[in-house]
Symmetry: C2
Subunit: 143 residues, 2 copies
DNA sequence: TTACAAGTTCGAGCGCACTCTAAGTCAAGG
DNA sequence: CCTTGACTTAGAGTGCGCTCGAACTTGTAA
């Protein structure tokens, strides 16, 4: 498989694939004939997993740590497990936060539906700013 | 309340507060005496809400759209509701993705605990890269 | 009243994760 | 052979969301 095929299959751009190789997230691909990278299907599994880590917000720095451990082979299993468990904890925490925010969002939206107090509270500050604009203290908002 | 107090109460830096005002996320604060910004407690509600939007991944561009509607007062309620509902949908989708990834993570971690096939699949590509490094085709990973 | 902490503006700089450009090489179909 | 499109490298550029620095003014407690 050449880089273009891999790009099509993974949804990454060829630029991104080369970038990932450069920084060490992807293993150095064998250059089959001439200079061109040749991939076998096993890389898809790793890229998919990288995608999961990305979706869950792991920074490249940490993915790199994981990738380096993976490079070093089976004796790093324990370290990798720990890394993943720490990440899992952060993801769980983040999901909980999101759910809390979602609840607030629901309340807010419900407030808009029934047009109640929420509006009045919200617009108090707005009125102060409008006054400032009238008085030339504030510029109208740009774009 | 002065900017430093507000910073302490919200966890934002004074730099960030001024930045938010500059781009229009925060209303232009009245300069009580001289040049210095004076805030009243109502701003805390807005900043907290901005924090929720941030936590849920809303880009500044969209927070700005919301803020501009808010500026324009009560007649924009409907637009604001729509904006928030769209955002809510995206957040829900994102939570679902995270949960799916979490399941994969769990499987992976379980695999490390029991050291099974997972390892062997994972390390196949690693071996290819090691070979490349030995042959001087790839640099060892930096940092 | 003097010291110094906290405020001001403007603009530059930073970290992240790509994304793109330029200038060139290579491979496969007609 | 020739064209065309995919590939190569090194390095510069982008967009986001802050973050910081410089140079200066203002507020407050001893």
């Amino acid at each position: 498989m050449k880089i273009g095929d891999l790009a099509r299959r993974t949804g990454l751009s060829t630029h991104t694939i080369r970038y990932y190789e450069r920084i060490g997230l992807l293993p150095y691909a064998s250059r089959a004939s001439s200079q061109q990278r040749e991939y076998d299907a096993s890389i898809l599994v790793w890229i998919e997993f990288l995608g999961r880590l990305k979706t869950t917000g792991m920074p490249i720095r940490d993915k790199l740590r994981y990738a380096r451990l993976r490079e070093r082979g089976p004796e790093t299993q324990e370290d990798r497990r720990i890394l993943l468990e720490e990440h899992r904890t952060r993801v769980r925490t983040h999901i909980a936060e999101l759910q809390a925010c979602l609840a607030v969002l629901d309340t807010k939206i419900a407030g808009y539906a029934g047009s109640d107090m929420v509006e009045k509270i919200d617009d108090a500050a707005t009125e102060r700013r409008k006054r400032a604009v009238r008085e030339g203290l504030a510029r109208p908002l740009r774009d």
